[in-house]
Subunit: 221 residues, 2 copies
DNA sequence: TATTGACTTATTGTATACAAAGACAGTAAA
DNA sequence: TTTACTGTCTTTGTATACAATAAGTCAATA
């Protein structure tokens, strides 16, 4: 794996915690590389906003409650628009892929043991559904920007906090979104997606005071 | 100026034309630097989508008509949302800054000689107004992403195609947006901004067949 | 004890050298 | 004329060395 993806994944999975400084020499040794490719990877991650300047170098960005609110507002705006456009522009192939993603999602939810590996699988198939919706909107630039908004460590961790009921509920909304896109009902798709993402947002915000994860976030000024 | 901003500006101003390959050694000589900082700048620009892989290296990205349509759709979605939020969250300082920007805009429009330098000034004050609207929405992540969507060479050139009447019309819409934000009317601000950006979009698309600029764009496949 | 200052150290910023791999040109064969 | 091949050459990918500077340390002074 290249330096960019290695660091990115480490941040998303929480191996590199928010506020942690990323020394070039350290990473270079960790990846058996020289500093040059490490620096390039860091520059890219900085452009994406995943790492921020920290003491003549960079560190993993931490997200405040305010950040989470803002990001979910933005994501909701973009993805609900995407759902609406998907209901207009989707192809038959998109519908098949959406249905597949949801079937896998259903399977993962029922089989889950709630261990980290299982959560990762749930995240993966959930992302596959959302990704397909955005892809079906047929706007490459929209796709590009949504992928940058969504890639935030938060999204990964949030699934730990879903109850079985919430996971089930989430699946049901996926099915409603799918039906709306299939039947070419943009408004219904848009509204359902908006609700869906705001449910996720509320769930995350509700748990932000939880002591087990509070160290991952910086309090607002 | 650092390598990143130098290259970025050269692309936006059209000094580096779409499709042009950006050789590291060449840029290094041009800026009296070694290849290392050049490579880092290129990686950042690549992450932003302003340059794309081209023959084992990178080249300036070209935008198809389809790209322009997509970008304006996206920009319209984001900026009209921003205008709505600005009508809710704006401070008194925001209002002063918006009014200042519009006054300068008015001045530039009346004084213009339609030379490159004058166009640059118009672009600058127009950007200042739009920037302030987005800033007044009080969502840093929204601001971040809009700035990436808007920074496209297109925006700069589009002002060459405005007639005096269109510039005047553009100013009038700015004033309507300002009033809506001032009076805390989110829907009115949102709709006005949406119309405003779509007018810009139509203007650009109308001129895309123009022979004087057609070389700047690649035909759609 | 807190604060300032010089000193030491660690880490980044930049340049350069070498290795690797496409791109290109020229040639030969179909 | 076109295609396929081969060798050369340009340009990128990576490593490393050195310069610059910010950070940390410790002692002296208020």
């Amino acid at each position: 794996m290249d330096a960019y993806n290695y660091i990115k994944e480490a941040i998303i999975l929480g191996k590199f915690e928010p506020g942690m400084r990323l020394g070039e020499e350290t990473l270079a040794k960790e990846l058996n590389l020289s500093r040059t490719p490490i620096r390039e990877a860091i520059k890219q991650l900085e452009a994406e906003g995943l790492v921020v300047p920290l003491k003549r170098g960079v560190g993993v960005r931490h997200f405040t409650k305010e950040d989470i609110r803002e990001i979910y507002d933005l994501r909701s705006l973009l993805e609900s628009y995407a759902a609406g456009q998907a209901a207009i522009n989707r192809t038959e192939a998109d519908l098949i892929e959406l249905e597949t993603a949801n079937q896998l999602y259903e399977k993962e939810i029922f089989d889950t043991h709630r261990d980290p590996n299982s959560i990762r699988n749930i995240v993966r198939v959930n992302s596959r559904f959302h990704d397909t919706v955005v892809s079906a909107a047929k706007n490459k630039h929209l796709y590009f920007h949504i992928s940058k908004v969504v890639v935030v460590p938060m999204v990964f961790r949030s699934f730990y906090w879903y109850t079985d009921f919430q996971l089930q509920q989430s699946l049901e909304v996926h099915k409603i979104i799918f039906e709306a896109i299939k039947n070419k009902e943009p408004e219904r798709a848009r509204i359902a997606m908006h609700e869906h993402i705001f449910q996720g947002r509320d769930n995350v915000l509700k748990h932000l005071d939880d002591s087990t994860i509070s160290h991952l976030f910086k309090e607002e000024a």
